[in-house]
Protein backbone atom coordinates (compact mmCIF):
# COMPACT_ATOMS: atom_id res chain seq x y z
CA UNK A 1 0.00 0.00 0.00
CA UNK A 2 1.17 3.46 -0.89
CA UNK A 3 2.32 5.19 2.27
CA UNK A 4 3.41 8.76 2.61
CA UNK A 5 4.21 10.68 5.71
CA UNK A 6 2.62 13.94 4.63
CA UNK A 7 -0.41 15.00 6.68
CA UNK A 8 -3.50 15.64 4.59
CA UNK A 9 -5.74 16.44 7.55
CA UNK A 10 -4.45 18.30 10.56
CA UNK A 11 -6.74 18.93 13.50
CA UNK A 12 -5.66 20.59 16.69
CA UNK A 13 -7.76 21.47 19.72
CA UNK A 14 -11.04 21.20 17.82
CA UNK A 15 -14.07 22.03 19.96
CA UNK A 16 -17.69 22.08 18.83
CA UNK A 17 -20.47 23.06 21.17
CA UNK A 18 -24.21 23.09 20.68
CA UNK A 19 -25.40 25.34 23.48
CA UNK A 20 -24.24 23.61 26.65
CA UNK A 21 -23.61 20.32 24.95
CA UNK A 22 -20.05 19.67 23.86
CA UNK A 23 -20.10 17.37 20.84
CA UNK A 24 -16.37 17.54 20.15
CA UNK A 25 -14.16 18.08 23.15
CA UNK A 26 -10.64 19.22 22.29
CA UNK A 27 -9.78 16.85 19.44
CA UNK A 28 -6.26 16.71 18.06
CA UNK A 29 -5.25 14.26 15.34
CA UNK A 30 -3.65 13.97 11.91
CA UNK A 31 -4.52 11.86 8.92
CA UNK A 32 -1.74 10.91 6.51
CA UNK A 33 -2.07 11.04 2.80
CA UNK A 34 -3.30 7.80 1.24
CA UNK A 35 -4.37 6.06 4.41
CA UNK A 36 -7.73 4.61 5.33
CA UNK A 37 -8.58 6.30 8.58
CA UNK A 38 -11.36 4.77 10.67
CA UNK A 39 -13.26 7.08 12.94
CA UNK A 40 -14.99 4.82 15.43
CA UNK A 41 -17.44 5.31 18.23
CA UNK A 42 -20.91 4.53 19.47
CA UNK A 43 -23.94 6.42 18.19
CA UNK A 44 -23.87 9.94 19.54
CA UNK A 45 -20.16 9.91 20.27
CA UNK A 46 -19.67 12.94 18.04
CA UNK A 47 -18.33 11.29 14.88
CA UNK A 48 -20.73 12.91 12.44
CA UNK A 49 -20.11 16.33 13.98
CA UNK A 50 -16.38 16.05 13.36
CA UNK A 51 -16.96 14.81 9.86
CA UNK A 52 -19.22 17.74 9.06
CA UNK A 53 -16.62 20.19 10.28
CA UNK A 54 -13.91 18.53 8.24
CA UNK A 55 -16.02 18.62 5.09
CA UNK A 56 -17.00 22.25 5.55
CA UNK A 57 -20.67 21.70 6.40
CA UNK A 58 -20.41 23.05 9.91
CA UNK A 59 -18.34 25.69 11.72
CA UNK A 60 -16.09 24.59 14.58
CA UNK A 61 -16.48 26.51 17.83
CA UNK A 62 -12.71 26.75 18.23
CA UNK A 63 -9.55 24.98 17.17
CA UNK A 64 -7.46 24.73 14.05
CA UNK A 65 -8.53 22.52 11.17
CA UNK A 66 -6.60 22.06 7.93
CA UNK A 67 -7.83 19.81 5.15
CA UNK A 68 -5.78 19.17 2.00
CA UNK A 69 -3.53 22.01 3.05
CA UNK A 70 -6.35 24.55 3.33
CA UNK A 71 -7.85 26.12 6.38
CA UNK A 72 -11.54 25.21 6.78
CA UNK A 73 -12.36 28.69 8.06
CA UNK A 74 -10.80 30.82 5.40
CA UNK A 75 -10.39 28.58 2.39
CA UNK A 76 -13.60 26.64 2.64
CA UNK A 77 -14.35 26.53 -1.08
CA UNK A 78 -10.81 25.39 -1.92
CA UNK A 79 -11.23 22.61 0.58
CA UNK A 80 -14.45 21.58 -1.14
CA UNK A 81 -12.76 21.13 -4.53
CA UNK A 82 -10.48 18.56 -2.94
CA UNK A 83 -12.91 16.44 -0.99
CA UNK A 84 -15.69 14.00 -1.62
CA UNK A 85 -18.46 13.32 0.88
CA UNK A 86 -21.01 10.61 1.39
CA UNK A 87 -23.52 11.36 4.11
CA UNK A 88 -25.25 9.09 6.53
CA UNK A 89 -28.57 10.17 5.11
CA UNK A 90 -28.81 8.69 1.70
CA UNK A 91 -27.99 11.46 -0.72
CA UNK A 92 -28.79 10.61 -4.32
CA UNK A 93 -31.95 11.88 -5.96
CA UNK A 94 -34.59 9.18 -5.79
CA UNK A 95 -36.43 10.42 -8.83
CA UNK A 96 -33.39 10.61 -11.09
CA UNK A 97 -31.73 7.69 -12.86
CA UNK A 98 -28.27 6.41 -12.03
CA UNK A 99 -26.79 8.20 -15.04
CA UNK A 100 -28.63 11.45 -14.34
CA UNK A 101 -27.40 11.51 -10.75
CA UNK A 102 -23.80 11.03 -11.84
CA UNK A 103 -24.13 13.66 -14.57
CA UNK A 104 -25.65 16.18 -12.16
CA UNK A 105 -23.00 15.86 -9.48
CA UNK A 106 -20.21 15.75 -12.05
CA UNK A 107 -21.70 18.85 -13.62
CA UNK A 108 -21.84 20.94 -10.48
CA UNK A 109 -18.22 20.09 -9.76
CA UNK A 110 -17.56 21.79 -13.06
CA UNK A 111 -16.26 18.74 -14.92
CA UNK A 112 -16.43 18.95 -18.73
CA UNK A 113 -19.41 17.19 -20.33
CA UNK A 114 -17.38 14.86 -22.51
CA UNK A 115 -15.27 13.77 -19.58
CA UNK A 116 -18.40 13.08 -17.51
CA UNK A 117 -19.81 10.89 -20.26
CA UNK A 118 -16.67 8.83 -20.70
CA UNK A 119 -16.07 8.41 -17.03
CA UNK A 120 -19.69 7.46 -16.37
CA UNK A 121 -19.49 4.66 -18.95
CA UNK A 122 -16.28 3.40 -17.48
CA UNK A 123 -17.62 3.58 -13.95
CA UNK A 124 -20.81 1.71 -14.78
CA UNK A 125 -18.76 -0.94 -16.52
CA UNK A 126 -16.58 -1.34 -13.48
CA UNK A 127 -19.57 -1.58 -11.13
CA UNK A 128 -21.29 -3.94 -13.60
CA UNK A 129 -24.29 -1.63 -13.60
CA UNK A 130 -24.52 -0.84 -17.31
CA UNK A 131 -27.93 -2.44 -17.57
CA UNK A 132 -29.43 -0.32 -14.81
CA UNK A 133 -27.99 3.02 -15.86
CA UNK A 134 -31.44 4.27 -16.80
CA UNK A 135 -33.25 2.94 -13.73
CA UNK A 136 -34.51 5.35 -11.12
CA UNK A 137 -32.48 5.32 -7.93
CA UNK A 138 -35.55 4.55 -5.84
CA UNK A 139 -36.03 1.23 -7.66
CA UNK A 140 -32.59 -0.08 -6.61
CA UNK A 141 -31.65 -2.07 -3.49
CA UNK A 142 -29.88 -0.12 -0.75
CA UNK A 143 -26.51 -1.77 -1.26
CA UNK A 144 -26.40 -0.74 -4.91
CA UNK A 145 -27.44 2.79 -4.07
CA UNK A 146 -24.61 3.06 -1.60
CA UNK A 147 -22.06 1.85 -4.14
CA UNK A 148 -23.31 4.46 -6.57
CA UNK A 149 -23.32 7.14 -3.89
CA UNK A 150 -19.70 6.32 -3.10
CA UNK A 151 -18.73 6.42 -6.76
CA UNK A 152 -20.44 9.79 -7.08
CA UNK A 153 -18.57 11.07 -4.03
CA UNK A 154 -15.18 10.33 -5.65
CA UNK A 155 -16.24 11.07 -9.22
CA UNK A 156 -14.32 14.34 -9.36
CA UNK A 157 -11.08 12.69 -8.16
CA UNK A 158 -10.82 14.34 -4.77
CA UNK A 159 -7.75 13.91 -2.61
CA UNK A 160 -9.85 12.85 0.33
CA UNK A 161 -13.25 11.23 0.68
CA UNK A 162 -15.33 11.42 3.85
CA UNK A 163 -17.71 8.55 4.44
CA UNK A 164 -20.29 8.80 7.20
CA UNK A 165 -21.53 5.35 8.19
CA UNK A 166 -21.47 4.25 4.55
CA UNK A 167 -22.54 0.69 5.25
CA UNK A 168 -25.40 1.32 7.64
CA UNK A 169 -28.25 -1.10 7.16
CA UNK A 170 -26.79 -3.45 4.54
CA UNK A 171 -25.95 -7.14 4.73
CA UNK A 172 -22.39 -8.39 5.44
CA UNK A 173 -21.77 -9.52 1.84
CA UNK A 174 -22.67 -6.12 0.43
CA UNK A 175 -20.49 -4.56 3.10
CA UNK A 176 -17.57 -6.66 1.88
CA UNK A 177 -18.23 -5.49 -1.68
CA UNK A 178 -18.36 -1.92 -0.48
CA UNK A 179 -15.01 -2.22 1.23
CA UNK A 180 -13.58 -3.52 -2.04
CA UNK A 181 -14.52 -0.17 -3.53
CA UNK A 182 -12.90 1.68 -0.65
CA UNK A 183 -9.66 -0.26 -1.19
CA UNK A 184 -9.77 0.49 -4.89
CA UNK A 185 -10.12 4.19 -4.15
CA UNK A 186 -7.31 4.01 -1.66
CA UNK A 187 -5.01 2.29 -4.21
CA UNK A 188 -5.66 5.11 -6.62
CA UNK A 189 -4.30 7.52 -4.01
CA UNK A 190 -7.45 8.82 -2.35
CA UNK A 191 -7.32 9.27 1.39
CA UNK A 192 -10.37 7.67 2.99
CA UNK A 193 -11.85 9.01 6.21
CA UNK A 194 -14.63 6.71 7.32
CA UNK A 195 -16.89 6.68 10.36
CA UNK A 196 -18.52 3.49 11.43
CA UNK A 197 -19.81 1.69 14.47
CA UNK A 198 -19.17 -1.77 13.02
CA UNK A 199 -16.05 -2.84 14.82
CA UNK A 200 -15.21 -5.57 12.33
CA UNK A 201 -14.83 -2.84 9.72
CA UNK A 202 -12.22 -1.22 11.89
CA UNK A 203 -9.93 -4.12 11.06
CA UNK A 204 -9.92 -3.01 7.43
CA UNK A 205 -8.50 0.42 8.31
CA UNK A 206 -4.86 1.45 8.36
CA UNK A 207 -5.39 3.47 11.48
CA UNK A 208 -8.38 4.02 13.73
CA UNK A 209 -9.41 6.45 16.39
CA UNK A 210 -12.02 5.54 18.97
CA UNK A 211 -14.28 8.25 20.18
CA UNK A 212 -16.45 8.36 23.25
CA UNK A 213 -18.54 11.24 24.54
CA UNK A 214 -16.85 13.78 22.32
CA UNK A 215 -13.27 12.77 23.12
CA UNK A 216 -10.77 10.62 21.30
CA UNK A 217 -9.91 7.82 23.72
CA UNK A 218 -7.47 5.86 21.61
CA UNK A 219 -5.79 6.16 18.25
CA UNK A 220 -3.42 3.74 16.51
CA UNK A 221 -3.28 0.89 14.02
CA UNK A 222 -5.75 -1.90 14.76
CA UNK A 223 -2.92 -4.33 15.48
CA UNK A 224 -1.27 -2.10 18.07
CA UNK A 225 -4.60 -1.26 19.70
CA UNK A 226 -5.39 -4.94 20.13
CA UNK A 227 -2.00 -5.45 21.67
CA UNK A 228 -2.35 -2.48 23.96
CA UNK A 229 -5.74 -3.55 25.26
CA UNK A 230 -4.85 -7.18 25.15
CA UNK A 231 -7.84 -8.03 22.98
CA UNK A 232 -8.70 -10.63 20.35
CA UNK A 233 -10.45 -8.23 18.06
CA UNK A 234 -11.50 -4.59 17.74
CA UNK A 235 -14.87 -5.29 19.30
CA UNK A 236 -13.16 -6.18 22.55
CA UNK A 237 -10.93 -3.12 22.33
CA UNK A 238 -13.99 -1.00 22.02
CA UNK A 239 -15.78 -2.65 24.92
CA UNK A 240 -12.74 -2.24 27.14
CA UNK A 241 -12.53 1.43 26.33
CA UNK A 242 -16.22 1.96 26.93
CA UNK A 243 -16.04 0.06 30.26
CA UNK A 244 -13.10 2.12 31.37
CA UNK A 245 -15.15 5.23 30.78
CA UNK A 246 -18.03 4.01 32.88
CA UNK A 247 -15.87 3.04 35.80
Amino acid sequence: MLKQTENIIEVSNLVKKFGNFTANDDLTFDVKQGEIFGFLGANGAGKTTTLKILSGLSYPTSGKVKVAGFDVYREREKVKKNIGYMSQKFSLYDDLTVKENIRFYGGIYGLPGKYIKEKTDELLRRLKMENIKDSLIKSLPLGWKQKIAFSVAIFHNPGIVFLDEPTGGVDPITRRDFWELIYEASYSGITVFVTTHYMDEAEYCDRVSIMDQGRIEAMDTPALLKKQYNAENMDEVFIRIARKQQL
Binding site: K52, L57, K78, Y85, K89, D94, F104, I108
Partner: protein, 372 residues
Protein backbone atom coordinates in the same frame (compact mmCIF):
# COMPACT_ATOMS: atom_id res chain seq x y z
CA UNK B 1 -22.40 29.26 -15.78
CA UNK B 2 -22.19 25.68 -17.00
CA UNK B 3 -22.91 24.50 -13.49
CA UNK B 4 -26.21 26.39 -13.56
CA UNK B 5 -27.18 24.51 -16.71
CA UNK B 6 -26.65 21.21 -14.92
CA UNK B 7 -28.96 22.32 -12.12
CA UNK B 8 -31.57 23.44 -14.65
CA UNK B 9 -31.41 20.13 -16.43
CA UNK B 10 -31.84 18.25 -13.17
CA UNK B 11 -34.77 20.37 -11.98
CA UNK B 12 -36.61 19.98 -15.28
CA UNK B 13 -36.14 16.22 -15.31
CA UNK B 14 -37.52 16.04 -11.79
CA UNK B 15 -40.52 18.24 -12.54
CA UNK B 16 -41.50 16.45 -15.71
CA UNK B 17 -40.84 12.97 -14.41
CA UNK B 18 -43.48 13.26 -11.71
CA UNK B 19 -46.55 12.37 -13.71
CA UNK B 20 -48.88 13.09 -10.83
CA UNK B 21 -47.62 16.63 -10.40
CA UNK B 22 -47.88 17.65 -14.04
CA UNK B 23 -51.67 17.92 -14.12
CA UNK B 24 -51.45 19.81 -10.83
CA UNK B 25 -49.10 22.33 -12.36
CA UNK B 26 -50.65 22.76 -15.78
CA UNK B 27 -54.14 21.28 -15.83
CA UNK B 28 -55.82 22.19 -12.60
CA UNK B 29 -54.97 25.90 -12.64
CA UNK B 30 -56.35 26.28 -16.12
CA UNK B 31 -59.58 24.55 -15.19
CA UNK B 32 -59.77 26.84 -12.18
CA UNK B 33 -59.28 29.84 -14.37
CA UNK B 34 -62.10 28.85 -16.67
CA UNK B 35 -64.45 27.95 -13.85
CA UNK B 36 -63.74 30.69 -11.38
CA UNK B 37 -63.92 33.55 -13.84
CA UNK B 38 -67.58 32.71 -14.18
CA UNK B 39 -68.03 32.65 -10.44
CA UNK B 40 -66.55 36.06 -9.87
CA UNK B 41 -69.42 38.22 -10.91
CA UNK B 42 -71.35 40.87 -9.12
CA UNK B 43 -74.13 41.16 -11.69
CA UNK B 44 -77.35 40.19 -10.01
CA UNK B 45 -79.14 37.77 -12.26
CA UNK B 46 -81.79 36.18 -10.15
CA UNK B 47 -83.29 38.06 -7.29
CA UNK B 48 -86.02 36.26 -5.39
CA UNK B 49 -88.76 38.71 -4.61
CA UNK B 50 -91.59 38.04 -2.20
CA UNK B 51 -94.68 40.18 -2.81
CA UNK B 52 -97.02 41.51 -0.15
CA UNK B 53 -99.64 43.36 -2.14
CA UNK B 54 -102.25 44.74 0.24
CA UNK B 55 -103.60 47.17 -2.31
CA UNK B 56 -104.66 44.70 -4.99
CA UNK B 57 -105.26 47.56 -7.39
CA UNK B 58 -104.58 47.66 -11.10
CA UNK B 59 -101.57 49.86 -10.43
CA UNK B 60 -100.05 47.51 -7.87
CA UNK B 61 -100.61 44.61 -10.24
CA UNK B 62 -98.82 46.57 -12.94
CA UNK B 63 -95.82 47.15 -10.70
CA UNK B 64 -95.59 43.49 -9.73
CA UNK B 65 -95.86 42.63 -13.41
CA UNK B 66 -92.99 44.89 -14.16
CA UNK B 67 -90.80 43.01 -11.72
CA UNK B 68 -92.06 39.68 -12.98
CA UNK B 69 -91.23 40.66 -16.53
CA UNK B 70 -87.68 41.57 -15.66
CA UNK B 71 -85.15 38.82 -16.33
CA UNK B 72 -83.45 39.63 -13.03
CA UNK B 73 -86.40 38.91 -10.77
CA UNK B 74 -88.31 35.82 -9.81
CA UNK B 75 -91.46 36.19 -7.76
CA UNK B 76 -90.90 33.57 -5.12
CA UNK B 77 -94.29 33.91 -3.43
CA UNK B 78 -97.14 36.16 -2.39
CA UNK B 79 -98.95 36.74 0.85
CA UNK B 80 -100.95 39.39 2.66
CA UNK B 81 -98.98 38.96 5.84
CA UNK B 82 -95.71 40.77 6.39
CA UNK B 83 -94.84 38.23 9.11
CA UNK B 84 -95.05 35.43 6.56
CA UNK B 85 -92.83 37.43 4.28
CA UNK B 86 -90.23 37.99 6.96
CA UNK B 87 -90.20 34.29 7.65
CA UNK B 88 -89.35 33.68 4.01
CA UNK B 89 -86.31 35.91 4.38
CA UNK B 90 -85.29 34.21 7.54
CA UNK B 91 -85.36 30.86 5.78
CA UNK B 92 -83.37 32.22 2.86
CA UNK B 93 -86.27 31.68 0.48
CA UNK B 94 -86.43 35.32 -0.56
CA UNK B 95 -83.93 38.16 -0.96
CA UNK B 96 -86.32 41.07 -0.96
CA UNK B 97 -89.90 41.85 0.03
CA UNK B 98 -91.98 44.22 -2.06
CA UNK B 99 -94.58 45.64 0.27
CA UNK B 100 -97.38 47.60 -1.37
CA UNK B 101 -99.56 49.06 1.39
CA UNK B 102 -103.30 49.38 1.29
CA UNK B 103 -104.35 52.58 -0.46
CA UNK B 104 -101.33 52.78 -2.70
CA UNK B 105 -103.26 53.57 -5.90
CA UNK B 106 -105.83 55.77 -4.21
CA UNK B 107 -103.18 57.91 -2.51
CA UNK B 108 -101.24 58.33 -5.69
CA UNK B 109 -104.24 59.52 -7.66
CA UNK B 110 -105.80 61.71 -4.96
CA UNK B 111 -102.86 63.04 -3.07
CA UNK B 112 -100.44 62.94 -5.98
CA UNK B 113 -97.97 60.88 -3.97
CA UNK B 114 -97.78 57.47 -2.48
CA UNK B 115 -95.47 55.08 -0.77
CA UNK B 116 -94.17 51.52 -1.09
CA UNK B 117 -91.68 49.56 0.90
CA UNK B 118 -88.77 47.32 0.07
CA UNK B 119 -87.31 45.06 2.73
CA UNK B 120 -83.98 43.59 1.77
CA UNK B 121 -82.02 40.81 3.41
CA UNK B 122 -78.90 42.71 4.39
CA UNK B 123 -76.67 39.89 5.51
CA UNK B 124 -74.74 39.88 2.31
CA UNK B 125 -74.00 43.59 2.18
CA UNK B 126 -72.78 43.59 -1.38
CA UNK B 127 -75.77 41.73 -2.75
CA UNK B 128 -78.13 43.86 -0.68
CA UNK B 129 -76.85 47.13 -2.06
CA UNK B 130 -77.09 45.78 -5.59
CA UNK B 131 -80.64 44.55 -5.01
CA UNK B 132 -81.47 47.94 -3.58
CA UNK B 133 -80.10 49.75 -6.62
CA UNK B 134 -81.82 47.42 -9.11
CA UNK B 135 -85.18 47.50 -7.39
CA UNK B 136 -85.36 51.25 -6.86
CA UNK B 137 -84.42 51.80 -10.47
CA UNK B 138 -87.22 49.48 -11.62
CA UNK B 139 -89.64 51.40 -9.45
CA UNK B 140 -88.46 54.82 -10.57
CA UNK B 141 -88.73 53.70 -14.17
CA UNK B 142 -92.27 52.55 -13.45
CA UNK B 143 -92.90 55.87 -11.79
CA UNK B 144 -91.76 57.80 -14.86
CA UNK B 145 -94.17 55.89 -17.07
CA UNK B 146 -96.99 56.57 -14.63
CA UNK B 147 -96.25 60.28 -14.64
CA UNK B 148 -96.25 60.44 -18.40
CA UNK B 149 -99.43 58.41 -18.57
CA UNK B 150 -101.30 60.47 -16.00
CA UNK B 151 -100.13 63.93 -17.02
CA UNK B 152 -99.85 63.25 -20.74
CA UNK B 153 -96.73 65.39 -20.65
CA UNK B 154 -93.75 63.30 -21.69
CA UNK B 155 -91.28 66.13 -21.13
CA UNK B 156 -92.11 66.09 -17.42
CA UNK B 157 -90.26 62.85 -16.98
CA UNK B 158 -87.28 64.23 -18.84
CA UNK B 159 -87.15 67.58 -17.27
CA UNK B 160 -83.60 67.38 -15.99
CA UNK B 161 -81.72 70.56 -16.80
CA UNK B 162 -78.31 68.93 -16.69
CA UNK B 163 -77.89 66.06 -19.04
CA UNK B 164 -75.51 63.38 -17.79
CA UNK B 165 -73.88 61.21 -20.38
CA UNK B 166 -71.90 58.33 -19.07
CA UNK B 167 -69.50 56.40 -21.24
CA UNK B 168 -67.57 53.40 -20.14
CA UNK B 169 -64.15 53.30 -21.66
CA UNK B 170 -62.21 50.15 -22.54
CA UNK B 171 -65.17 47.96 -21.67
CA UNK B 172 -68.44 49.52 -22.83
CA UNK B 173 -70.50 46.43 -21.96
CA UNK B 174 -69.13 46.44 -18.43
CA UNK B 175 -68.05 42.86 -18.87
CA UNK B 176 -66.76 41.83 -15.49
CA UNK B 177 -64.91 38.80 -16.82
CA UNK B 178 -62.37 40.85 -18.70
CA UNK B 179 -61.41 42.31 -15.36
CA UNK B 180 -61.45 39.14 -13.30
CA UNK B 181 -59.63 36.85 -15.71
CA UNK B 182 -56.31 38.67 -15.55
CA UNK B 183 -56.75 38.93 -11.78
CA UNK B 184 -57.30 35.22 -11.29
CA UNK B 185 -54.47 34.49 -13.70
CA UNK B 186 -52.15 36.56 -11.53
CA UNK B 187 -53.11 34.49 -8.51
CA UNK B 188 -52.69 31.15 -10.21
CA UNK B 189 -49.34 31.97 -11.76
CA UNK B 190 -48.08 33.38 -8.47
CA UNK B 191 -49.31 30.49 -6.32
CA UNK B 192 -47.71 27.91 -8.53
CA UNK B 193 -44.38 29.60 -8.88
CA UNK B 194 -44.15 30.71 -5.26
CA UNK B 195 -45.03 27.35 -3.78
CA UNK B 196 -42.95 25.30 -6.11
CA UNK B 197 -39.82 27.31 -5.42
CA UNK B 198 -40.52 27.56 -1.70
CA UNK B 199 -40.97 23.81 -1.40
CA UNK B 200 -37.96 23.03 -3.53
CA UNK B 201 -34.93 23.69 -1.34
CA UNK B 202 -36.70 22.57 1.80
CA UNK B 203 -37.47 19.32 0.06
CA UNK B 204 -33.78 18.79 -0.59
CA UNK B 205 -33.22 19.53 3.09
CA UNK B 206 -35.77 16.94 4.15
CA UNK B 207 -34.35 14.37 1.74
CA UNK B 208 -30.78 15.07 2.77
CA UNK B 209 -29.55 15.79 -0.75
CA UNK B 210 -28.79 19.40 0.15
CA UNK B 211 -25.76 18.23 2.15
CA UNK B 212 -24.30 16.54 -0.86
CA UNK B 213 -24.64 19.80 -2.75
CA UNK B 214 -23.20 21.85 0.09
CA UNK B 215 -19.95 19.88 0.10
CA UNK B 216 -19.41 20.73 -3.55
CA UNK B 217 -17.58 23.91 -4.48
CA UNK B 218 -20.71 25.33 -6.15
CA UNK B 219 -21.19 29.04 -5.55
CA UNK B 220 -24.26 30.24 -3.68
CA UNK B 221 -25.56 32.39 -6.50
CA UNK B 222 -25.12 29.58 -9.02
CA UNK B 223 -27.26 27.32 -6.89
CA UNK B 224 -29.97 29.93 -6.28
CA UNK B 225 -30.17 30.93 -9.93
CA UNK B 226 -30.29 27.29 -10.94
CA UNK B 227 -33.27 26.87 -8.64
CA UNK B 228 -34.96 30.06 -9.83
CA UNK B 229 -34.90 29.77 -13.59
CA UNK B 230 -36.91 26.54 -14.05
CA UNK B 231 -39.84 27.91 -12.13
CA UNK B 232 -39.61 31.18 -13.98
CA UNK B 233 -39.94 29.34 -17.26
CA UNK B 234 -42.86 27.31 -16.00
CA UNK B 235 -44.62 30.41 -14.71
CA UNK B 236 -44.16 32.21 -18.02
CA UNK B 237 -45.53 29.22 -19.86
CA UNK B 238 -48.48 29.08 -17.50
CA UNK B 239 -49.20 32.75 -18.09
CA UNK B 240 -49.02 32.30 -21.85
CA UNK B 241 -51.42 29.39 -21.61
CA UNK B 242 -53.84 31.35 -19.46
CA UNK B 243 -53.75 34.35 -21.77
CA UNK B 244 -54.38 32.19 -24.81
CA UNK B 245 -57.41 30.66 -23.13
CA UNK B 246 -58.61 34.08 -22.07
CA UNK B 247 -58.28 35.36 -25.60
CA UNK B 248 -59.90 32.36 -27.27
CA UNK B 249 -62.73 31.59 -24.88
CA UNK B 250 -63.37 34.79 -23.01
CA UNK B 251 -62.37 37.24 -25.71
CA UNK B 252 -60.49 39.37 -23.27
CA UNK B 253 -59.01 42.30 -25.14
CA UNK B 254 -55.26 42.40 -25.54
CA UNK B 255 -54.82 46.06 -26.30
CA UNK B 256 -51.25 46.57 -25.15
CA UNK B 257 -48.01 44.89 -26.03
CA UNK B 258 -47.68 41.26 -25.03
CA UNK B 259 -43.91 41.64 -25.12
CA UNK B 260 -44.11 44.43 -22.57
CA UNK B 261 -46.34 42.28 -20.37
CA UNK B 262 -43.89 39.40 -20.42
CA UNK B 263 -41.00 41.72 -19.78
CA UNK B 264 -42.79 43.02 -16.74
CA UNK B 265 -43.72 39.53 -15.59
CA UNK B 266 -40.08 38.52 -15.71
CA UNK B 267 -39.28 41.23 -13.18
CA UNK B 268 -42.33 40.31 -11.13
CA UNK B 269 -41.31 36.67 -11.03
CA UNK B 270 -37.88 37.70 -9.82
CA UNK B 271 -39.58 39.10 -6.73
CA UNK B 272 -42.00 36.25 -6.13
CA UNK B 273 -39.51 33.47 -6.71
CA UNK B 274 -36.87 35.12 -4.58
CA UNK B 275 -39.40 35.35 -1.77
CA UNK B 276 -40.13 31.67 -2.30
CA UNK B 277 -36.44 30.80 -2.13
CA UNK B 278 -35.97 32.94 0.93
CA UNK B 279 -38.78 31.12 2.72
CA UNK B 280 -37.26 27.88 1.60
CA UNK B 281 -33.86 28.68 3.06
CA UNK B 282 -35.45 29.79 6.32
CA UNK B 283 -37.76 26.84 6.91
CA UNK B 284 -36.82 23.32 7.83
CA UNK B 285 -39.93 21.38 6.84
CA UNK B 286 -42.30 21.56 3.93
CA UNK B 287 -45.19 21.98 6.30
CA UNK B 288 -43.63 25.13 7.69
CA UNK B 289 -43.01 26.48 4.24
CA UNK B 290 -46.53 25.88 3.29
CA UNK B 291 -47.85 27.62 6.30
CA UNK B 292 -45.62 30.64 6.00
CA UNK B 293 -46.23 31.10 2.31
CA UNK B 294 -49.90 30.47 2.69
CA UNK B 295 -50.22 33.14 5.30
CA UNK B 296 -48.47 35.81 3.28
CA UNK B 297 -50.17 34.77 0.13
CA UNK B 298 -53.64 35.08 1.56
CA UNK B 299 -52.88 38.52 2.93
CA UNK B 300 -51.23 39.62 -0.28
CA UNK B 301 -54.04 38.34 -2.49
CA UNK B 302 -56.79 40.00 -0.51
CA UNK B 303 -54.95 43.30 -0.40
CA UNK B 304 -53.83 43.24 -4.01
CA UNK B 305 -57.01 44.79 -5.32
CA UNK B 306 -58.26 41.68 -7.07
CA UNK B 307 -61.80 42.20 -5.82
CA UNK B 308 -61.87 45.72 -4.51
CA UNK B 309 -60.18 49.01 -5.42
CA UNK B 310 -56.96 49.50 -3.48
CA UNK B 311 -57.32 53.25 -3.17
CA UNK B 312 -60.41 52.79 -0.99
CA UNK B 313 -58.39 50.84 1.53
CA UNK B 314 -57.19 52.54 4.70
CA UNK B 315 -53.86 54.32 4.55
CA UNK B 316 -51.92 51.68 6.46
CA UNK B 317 -53.14 49.01 4.06
CA UNK B 318 -51.98 51.10 1.12
CA UNK B 319 -48.59 51.38 2.80
CA UNK B 320 -48.45 47.61 3.22
CA UNK B 321 -49.17 47.28 -0.47
CA UNK B 322 -45.81 48.85 -1.24
CA UNK B 323 -44.25 45.50 -0.38
CA UNK B 324 -47.07 43.48 -1.92
CA UNK B 325 -45.82 42.16 -5.27
CA UNK B 326 -49.32 40.97 -6.18
CA UNK B 327 -50.52 44.55 -5.99
CA UNK B 328 -48.13 45.72 -8.71
CA UNK B 329 -48.81 42.83 -11.02
CA UNK B 330 -52.58 43.04 -10.52
CA UNK B 331 -52.48 46.66 -11.62
CA UNK B 332 -50.10 46.29 -14.50
CA UNK B 333 -51.58 43.21 -16.15
CA UNK B 334 -54.93 44.95 -16.31
CA UNK B 335 -53.39 48.20 -17.51
CA UNK B 336 -51.47 46.59 -20.33
CA UNK B 337 -54.12 44.11 -21.43
CA UNK B 338 -57.22 46.23 -21.14
CA UNK B 339 -56.01 49.76 -21.65
CA UNK B 340 -52.87 49.34 -23.69
CA UNK B 341 -50.62 51.14 -21.28
CA UNK B 342 -47.09 51.66 -22.54
CA UNK B 343 -43.75 51.29 -20.85
CA UNK B 344 -43.61 54.78 -19.43
CA UNK B 345 -47.09 54.33 -17.98
CA UNK B 346 -45.95 51.36 -15.94
CA UNK B 347 -42.37 52.49 -15.38
CA UNK B 348 -42.99 53.22 -11.71
CA UNK B 349 -44.24 49.69 -11.09
CA UNK B 350 -41.50 48.23 -13.26
CA UNK B 351 -38.63 49.88 -11.48
CA UNK B 352 -40.15 49.39 -8.04
CA UNK B 353 -40.32 45.67 -8.66
CA UNK B 354 -36.85 45.61 -10.18
CA UNK B 355 -35.34 47.13 -7.05
CA UNK B 356 -37.51 44.94 -4.84
CA UNK B 357 -36.59 41.82 -6.78
CA UNK B 358 -32.85 42.47 -6.74
CA UNK B 359 -33.04 43.05 -3.03
CA UNK B 360 -34.99 39.85 -2.36
CA UNK B 361 -32.71 37.81 -4.60
CA UNK B 362 -29.70 39.19 -2.77
CA UNK B 363 -31.35 38.33 0.52
CA UNK B 364 -32.11 34.78 -0.63
CA UNK B 365 -28.52 34.23 -1.79
CA UNK B 366 -27.22 35.69 1.45
CA UNK B 367 -29.55 33.63 3.63
CA UNK B 368 -28.75 30.39 1.86
CA UNK B 369 -26.12 28.84 4.08
CA UNK B 370 -23.80 26.17 2.88
CA UNK B 371 -22.48 25.87 6.41
CA UNK B 372 -24.48 25.43 9.58
Amino acid sequence: MRKILYILQKEFIQIFRDKTMLPMIFGVPIIQLVVLVHAATLEMKSIDMFVVDKDLSSLSAKLVNKFEGSPFYTISGRSFSITDANKEIENNKADVILHIPHGFERNLLREKSSEIQLQIDGINGTAASLINAYSTSVISDFNKNIIVELTQMPQLAEMEPIEIQTSYWYNPELNYKTYMLPGILVILVSIISLFMTAMNIVREKEMGTIEQINVTPIRKHEFIIGKLVPFMIIALFELALGLTIGKLFFHIPVVGSVGLLFGFVLVYLLVVLSIGLLISTLASTQQQVMFISFFFMLVFILMSGIFTPTESMPMWAQKVNIINPFYYFMRVIRMILLKGSRFWDISYEFFSLLIYGSFMLGLAVWRYRKVA
